[in-house]
Structures are given as structure tokens and as C-alpha cells.
């Protein structure tokens, strides 16, 4: 009898009646404390709960309930570190500022924030911690500013208090760079604000002028308005618009074409023409459009700048991959926390089971099993023998180990991986948005058209010629052109977010405007990225006994078995013995129970019945691990443990194929496992590549990139470089934190299905943008020609001008950019 994972796991999960008192996540069966009102999903949450009550801060839970709508449910994590490095004089000198002798200030990065209740909790700390003067949290930057009195408390003691509450204070990689970025952000804000103020005022003046042309405005008033419009336009160009001229001058100097060259020429042309006609007292001006264009172009530039800056920040990510602190064993046998920068070759560091190795080095303990999935994507645990190399970013699973340092920091494999990510991001050419490319040429064309109109009709008299030129200038206002892209993009991104796809910027949508290749990672993307029971056969009663026994172990396989079958089991187990790496035995309900690999069964001198050998072979062929359950020295059940394939993966891949996308899988896992999973989700063998190094993944992405866009979907650190090299990197929400930083888009919940919405939605959004640009250009051309022929007078033109903007808005809002693809996919699934 073989049951698939859906039938086992679903009822087990539905039976979880206990939510963690602290974080609200379900409590694993193995940890349910029967009879207690408080339940905790992990030791971290329990510890934080206790410290909150000890400090009198339990108000936190009341606030957290109010904030539950925006709350990011995550278990609390308590490191119990000493944070001694925060008290070193060199740290204080570099990071802290001194207000006076009894007040030091520092800005630190903070991990573990979930919602507004966390803000309250942290900012309430000065009321109970003596010597802590003030705490200011900045949610947006994930930073916290701390003021404290060094005579009364040390920064390390403050960090320990925060740690006990589940927040880790980490030092900023480069405090000076942070300051510089803030200054640049501020200058952008001011620049855009000034440009917007000038543009709106000069629009108001311009409308007075348009109105006056028909009602024969007094020349005194007309000149007055014109002078004000010219002054405003000059101010806009000299102030916020200076940027374009600086770029254009640099382009002329270096003799390289730059899109600011036509922009600067057009802006200068419009303002100089306006100035000349104002000084000579006749003619019309076109200054308000120049100020409007400065504002719209600046907004586009700012968005672009923010995206480019992301590439530089990724280098700092090393802190999130590898712990900032290592536990170093001193000569006298004592263990101290030191920052990883101070490790030297030959130091011995200790790593507890489940913690992350901080450096590359040699294992100086007996053989242990390591989870290398973060670095390589391999789902199977790998055994590393004494004196063999271990890498930063891997985790020992079942026992604490000692590692002799060989490389630390940027020289480790994890560090080099990040360097490659930064390099790949920098190599990706910044995309010049369609509307930006067109804006400069558009302005030049309009000015040329206006000049041509004046000259062409000059023989009918100056007033007719000028009126027609003005009508042309007004009717071809670039507002619609400036609005077309941002509107469609904002609407597209908003719709995407509602459908579970978080997109980081407009250029992301533009990058995958045509159908290309989607490269998928396996572990955590096509599969759920965790160890779970995928199928079982044999005696169900034996499975329940096995689950009771496994409740006492923290090993991932034990947790998987306890989760799958433990819902009904309350039995306690006695005389539990764990055989490291092989399994566990003990007594449950007066029966001897052993759960483990074939090797454990042999060790215990239990015979394997014939029926298990074929079944175990087929489990191994699927790339999963067979686990035997023996009750009273007789094998009664067989469980397959592996990384379950996501339920929606096959359907999603079929849909993507029917949309016209090519698919590929690049997995760091063993080729056998990769092919087994690939076949299960409907990929052809030639589309599957197993055993890929992170470098090979980048190569696969680049190889498919020659003509069509490539989307890389992944979740782990081993996918980062490929995600950065691809046209769009897509991260799974539950993946590594660093993957979320590098990715251009993130699938928040709902597994893989939102991917359909992203790729099809992007195409539809680009379609909307093109349609918008076409409409506004067609409108402007038609309006321009009519104005040239004298069918449009300036006042009619001023009335018509918003019509094109409104049309563009209507198209952007009505385009079913994200909803249609999604709804269709939903329909076909149901």
C-alpha cells in the first residue's frame, strides 16, 4: 500500500490545533505540550515569551494582536551570544558618535522585526533598562539608533537584552556609505520636489496665456505672464534640471552618445525660444512643457538610480549568509565570541548542531553530516570525515563540530559567490525605458515642427503663423507621453502585488516583454525545500509508534516522521538511544521500537523482510531515503523521506509551456534526484541538468540569453549569481533572505502559481505601455498636423491637451495586465 504525500500530510497538518503563543505559527507535533495553555513552536519563541513576562513587557501581545494584519509571522530566534565585539574600542571609534561624556549614539542593523508591536517593544526598553537613554527604530531601513550612557551600561549588555527578546543587533558594514546614501536620497527628494513645484506653477501661468490668446489679452498682461513663465523655466533648468546639462556636457566631452543629449538640447531650445520671443515682444513660448518634462524625467531617473544602487548593496549580504561572530577556542580551552574578521588561519572555532559554519576550513572532529543545501542546493545531507574541508554557510546537522580556519570573510566560497553576484548585477546593462528614449527626440521634433509652421505660414502674416505654431506646441504637450509608461507600470505592479507577486520596479516588467526561457531551481522551488515523508507502506500502527519515538529527537528526518504520523500519538517513549546518522531506538507502550536506515536495522541484528528490498530500491532510485520501522525486532513499515514536489509545480509548468515559454531546470542536487523531480513535474530529460555549481547555473542562464529573455527562479544562495545574471531573478518568499534582496520579483505565498501571473502580466503590461505610447504619438501627430493646417486654434488646443492624458490613463487602468492571465489560469485549474 503506497500513499502519496498529499493524503498523509494534509490531515496531519489540519489536525494541528496548537498555534505558537509567541509567533502564531503552528506548533510541530513533537513539541506540543499537552495540557498547557501556552504552546511554543521552538525554543526561541519560548525564551522570548519568558523574557517579555520577566520584564513586564507582556503588553506586546495586545499590540501584536492589533497589528496582526501586517504581521510577518516568523519564529523568534535567540542566539544567547555575548556581543563582546560591540564593546571593543575600535568599534566605538568607527561607529559611535559622542554627544557628551554620558551619552553615546550608534546606528545598528536589526534583525527579527515583524510589525509595529516590535517598534513599541524596542522603544519601551529605555523605561526598564537602566542606562539606556533612547531607542529609535527605522522600519524602512531595518535599522535602530541607540543612545546610551557608557558609565551605566555597555552596548553588549543592551544587545544581550535585545537578543533575549528575539532581536539581533548587527553592525552596519560601512556606516559612512549609509550616510552618503541618505544624503543622495535627500538631494533627489529635494530636486524632484522643486521640479514639481515649478512645473505646476508654470502650468498655471501657461493656462492664463492660452486663455488670453483668444480673448485678445492686453499686451501688458501677456508680456507679464510670459516673463514669469520664462523665469520659472530658467529656474527649473538651472536648479533641478542642471543634471541633464551636466550629463550632456559630459557626453560631448567623451564623445559618447547619451540620451541626455537630445533632452538637454530640447529643453534649452524651448527655453531660449521662449526667452527670445518674450524679449522681442512677439511670438509665443513653450516653457511650461519644458518644466513639466524636467519633473517627469527626474522621477524616472530616481527610480532607475534606486535600482542600480541595489547592485552595490548586495556585496554587504555576506553578513546574512555567514554569522558575524564565531566561537573561537582559546589556547586554555575556554571559548570566546569573536567577529569573523579577526579569525586567522589555524584558529579553531566551535559550531553547534544546526548553526552555520562561519569560515572555510578543516573539520577537526569525528565525521559529521552537513546540510550544504544553502551553498550547493543538494538536498541530501553530506557526510564529511575528520580533516576533510568544510565550507562557510553549511550547517552540521546532528552534532557539534570544531573547524580549523583556513579562509574567512570574502575569501570563502560563500564570499566568492557573493562577489560573483555583485559582478553579474553590475554587468547587466541598465535598461533605458522606452518613454525615456523617446522623450528627447519627441521634444526636438515638436520644436522643429513649430519652427517649420511659423516659417511656412509667415506669408499669411505673423499673427496667423504664430497662432498656428502655438496651437501645435500646445496640442502636442508631452504629458501623455510622460504619463504612458509610469501609469501602466504602477497599475501593473499594483495588480501584481494583489495577486501575490511583489515586483521591485518597472524595468523588471520591461525586461521580459517577450517570451523566452524560464530556468528553475529544484530544491525549494519545484520542491518544498524541506524534509518530509513522501510515501509510506506497512502497518499504520507501527508508524504511529515511530512518530511517538521520533518526537524526542530534533533531527530533520525525525521531525518529518513526527509531523506526518504524530497527530494521534500521545505515548511517551523511554530508554531512547539515538544512533547518530543512522536512526533511533527506544521503548514506546512497552514495545521496542527502532526507526532508521538499513544499517541501523542490521546493527540491531533485525532481518529485513523480502518485501522491503524492492520498495527500498525504488525509493533510492527516486532520490529519496528509505527509513525502516521495526517494532519488537520485526520490520513492520517502510517510509520514504525526501523533499516533496510542490503540488502545483506540474500544472504551472504545463501552463508556462502552453504560453510559449521554454523551460529548463538547473539543480545543484545529484543528477538522479534532479531527473526524478524533473520527470514528476513534466520536464523532458534534455531540459534537466543536475549537479550544477553556482557558476554552471550562471552559464546556463547566459547560454539561453542570446535572443530571448531568461527568467531565473530560485530560492537559495547557490542561485543568487544566476538570478543576478538573468533578465529577471525571481525568488521564492520562503527562500534565503539574500535571495529576496537580489531578486527582481518575489513570489509571496501560493507556491509557484504566481509565476504564471508574473511572466504573462509583464507581457500584458508592456503591451499596455506600447499601446499608450502609440495612442499618445498618434494623437500628437494628428493634432500637430491639424494645428499646422490651421484647424486648431490655441484655446481649443489647450482644452484638447488633457484629452490625450485622460485616454492614456483610461488605457492603463482598464488593461487587464495581471488579472486576466491569473483568472484564466485559475479557471483552467478548477
Amino acid at each position: 500500500m503506497i500513499r502519496v504525500v498529499g493524503t498523509i500530510a494534509a490531515p496531519a497538518r489540519a489536525a494541528i490545533a496548537h498555534a505558537c503563543t509567541h509567533c502564531g505559527l503552528p506548533v510541530p507535533n513533537g513539541l506540543v505540550n499537552h495540557g498547557a495553555t501556552q504552546q511554543f513552536c521552538c525554543g526561541g519563541c519560548h525564551a522570548v515569551y519568558e523574557s517579555l513576562y520577566a520584564c513586564g513587557l507582556e503588553k506586546y501581545y495586545e499590540i501584536a494582536v492589533k497589528e496582526s494584519r501586517v504581521r510577518d509571522a516568523r519564529p523568534a530566534y535567540v542566539t544567547r551570544r555575548r556581543f563582546a565585539h560591540l564593546d571593543r574600542p575600535e568599534f566605538t571609534a568607527r561607529h559611535a558618535t559622542t554627544a557628551d561624556a554620558s551619552r553615546l549614539s550608534v546606528e545598528l542593523r536589526i534583525d527579527g522585526m515583524r510589525c509595529g508591536a516590535c517598534v513599541w517593544l524596542l522603544e519601551a526598553l529605555p523605561r526598564i533598562v537602566h542606562g539606556l537613554i533612547a531607542v529609535r527604530v527605522n522600519i524602512g531601513r531595518g535599522a535602530v539608533a541607540i543612545d546610551w550612557d557608557p558609565a551605566q551600561i555597555t552596548l553588549a549588555a543592551i544587545a544581550q537584552r535585545c537578543d533575549a527578546l528575539g532581536y539581533q543587533l548587527l553592525q552596519l558594514a560601512d556606516p559612512d556609505a549609509r550616510g552618503r546614501e541618505r544624503a543622495i536620497d535627500r538631494s533627489w527628494l529635494i530636486r524632484i520636489g522643486v521640479a514639481a513645484a515649478i512645473a505646476s506653477n508654470s502650468m498655471a501661468v501657461a493656462f492664463a496665456l492660452y486663455g488670453g490668446l483668444l480673448s485678445s489679452m492686453d499686451a501688458r498682461f501677456r508680456l507679464f505672464f510670459q516673463w514669469i513663465a520664462v523665469v520659472l523655466a530658467v529656474a527649473s533648468l538651472a536648479g533641478p534640471g542642471r543634471l541633464f546639462f551636466a550629463n550632456a556636457i559630459a557626453a560631448i566631452r567623451t564623445r559618447t552618445p547619451h540620451m541626455d543629449l537630445p533632452v538637454a538640447t530640447g529643453l534649452l531650445g524651448a527655453v531660449v525660444a521662449g526667452l527670445v520671443s518674450t524679449v522681442t515682444g512677439n511670438g509665443s513660448i513653450y516653457c511650461e512643457s519644458a518644466t513639466m518634462l524636467v519633473f517627469l524625467l527626474l522621477v524616472g531617473r530616481f527610480v532607475q538610480y534606486r535600482q542600480q544602487r541595489r547592485a552595490h548593496q548586495e556585496v554587504e549580504l555576506i553578513t546574512s549568509l555567514v554569522p558575524a561572530l564565531a566561537r573561537k577556542r582559546e589556547g586554555d580551552g575556554s571559548v570566546v565570541d569573536v567577529p569573523i574578521e579577526s579569525l586567522v588561519i589555524g584558529d579553531i572555532v566551535e559550531v553547534a548542531a544546526g548553526e552555520t559554519v562561519p569560515c572555510d576550513g578543516q573539520l577537526r572532529s569525528p565525521a559529521a553530516r552537513f546540510d550544504c543545501s544553502m551553498l550547493t542546493g543538494e538536498s541530501r545531507l553530506s557526510s564529511i570525515a575528520a580533516n576533510e574541508p568544510v565550507f562557510a554557510g553549511t550547517r552540521p546537522v546532528d552534532r557539534p563540530v570544531a573547524v580549523m580556519v583556513e579562509k574567512a570573510g570574502a575569501e570563502t566560497r560563500a564570499g566568492q559567490l557573493l562577489a560573483r553576484v555583485a559582478e553579474a548585477s553590475a554587468r547587466r546593462p541598465p535598461i533605458v525605458e522606452l518613454a525615456n528614449r523617446m522623450a528627447g527626440w519627441f521634444l526636438l521634433a515638436v520644436l522643429t515642427g513649430a519652427a517649420a509652421t511659423t516659417l511656412w505660414w509667415w506669408h499669411l502674416g505673423a499673427d496667423v503663423a504664430i497662432a498656428r505654431a502655438v496651437a501645435l506646441l500646445v496640442v502636442t504637450c508631452p504629458c501623455a507621453l510622460g504619463l504612458a509608461t509610469p501609469l501602466a507600470v504602477v497599475v501593473g505592479i499594483g495588480k501584481a502585488a494583489r495577486k501575490g507577486v511583489l515586483v521591485k520596479g518597472g524595468d523588471v516588467l520591461e525586461r521580459v516583454s517577450t517570451r523566452g526561457t524560464i530556468v528553475l531551481d529544484k530544491t525549494g522551488t519545484l520542491t518544498e525545500g524541506r524534509v518530509a515523508v513522501t510515501c509510506s507502506q506497512g502497518d499504520p500502527a507501527a508508524l504511529v509508534l515511530a512518530a511517538s519515538l521520533e518526537c524526542s529527537s530534533v533531527h530533520p528526518i525525525a521531525r518529518a516522521i513526527a509531523d506526518a504520523f504524530g497527530a494521534a500519538s500521545h505515548a511517551a517513549s523511554r530508554d531512547v538511544r539515538e544512533h547518530l546518522g543512522h536512526g533511533i531506538e527506544g521503548v514506546v507502550e512497552r514495545q521496542h521500537v527502532a526507526v532508521g536506515s538499513a544499517r541501523l536495522i542490521h546493527q540491531l541484528a533485525i532481518t529485513l523482510p523480502a518485501w522491503t528490498s524492492d520498495a527500498a530500491d525504488s525509493i533510492v532510485r527516486r532520490g529519496e531515503s528509505p527509513v525502516f520501522v521495526a517494532v519488537d525486532r520485526e520490520v513492520r513499515a517502510l517510509v520514504a523521506v525526501g523533499d516533496p514536489v510542490r503540488a502545483e509545480a506540474a500544472a504551472t509548468i504545463a501552463r508556462l509551456r502552453s504560453f510559449g515559454w521554454s523551460l529548463a531546470m538547473a539543480s545543484g542536487d545529484h543528477p538522479v534526484v534532479a531527473h526524478a523531480v524533473g520527470a514528476a513535474v513534466g520536464l523532458q530529460p534534455h531540459e534537466i541538468e543536475g549537479g550544477c555549481s553556482p557558476e554552471r547555473k550562471v552559464q546556463i542562464v547566459r547560454d539561453s540569453q542570446f535572443a530571448a529573455p531568461v527568467v531565473m527562479v530560485g530560492d537559495g544562495v547557490n542561485d543568487l549569481a544566476a538570478m543576478a545574471a538573468a533578465d529577471i531573478g525571481v525568488a521564492m518568499r520562503n527562500g534565503a533572505q539574500s535571495a529576496l534582496h537580489v531578486a527582481d520579483a518575489c513570489l509571496a505565498g501560493g507556491g509557484l502559481t504566481p509565476l504564471l501571473r508574473l511572466v504573462e502580466g509583464a507581457r500584458r503590461t508592456m503591451h499596455a505601455i506600447r499601446l499608450n505610447l502609440a495612442v499618445s504619438i498618434a494623437y500628437n501627430t494628428a493634432g500637430g498636423v491639424l494645428a499646422f493646417l490651421g484647424f486648431v486654434n490655441p484655446l481649443v488646443a489647450a482644452v484638447l491637451m488633457p484629452v490625450s492624458s485622460l485616454t492614456v490613463m483610461a488605457i492603463a487602468l482598464a488593461m487587464p495586465s495581471f488579472s486576466l492571465a491569473a483568472d484564466r489560469a485559475d479557471q483552467e485549474r478548477s
Binding site: G56, K59, W120, I139, R182, R186, A197
Partner: protein, 50 residues
């Protein structure tokens, strides 16, 4: 209509004052963090258990 010769410069002066206030606020980090202060306002007064 001659009032416009005074009214328009005055209007521009007012707009300029608003702009100056904006620049002043921006350069003093008033727009640096738009997420935390609105929450802080709501949360600050919660009394602690003694």
C-alpha cells in the same frame, strides 16, 4: 485686472515659501522614515506593568 501685477508675484512668493519649508524639512530628515513615526504615535502611551 491690474491687480494681477501684485497678486501673481504674491502667489509665487507664497508658493516659494512652501517650497522653502519643504526643502527645510527634507534636509532635516523629516522624510527619511515614513513607516515608523505613524506607528510610534499610536503605540507610545501604553503603560508598562510595574
Amino acid at each position: 485686472m491690474e491687480a494681477i501685477f501684485i497678486a501673481l508675484p504674491v502667489a509665487l512668493l507664497v508658493a516659494g515659501a512652501a517650497l522653502a519649508a519643504f526643502v527645510w524639512a527634507a534636509s532635516r530628515d523629516q522624510f527619511d522614515d515614513l513607516d515608523t513615526p505613524p506607528r510610534r504615535v499610536l503605540l507610545d502611551d501604553e503603560p508598562l506593568r510595574k
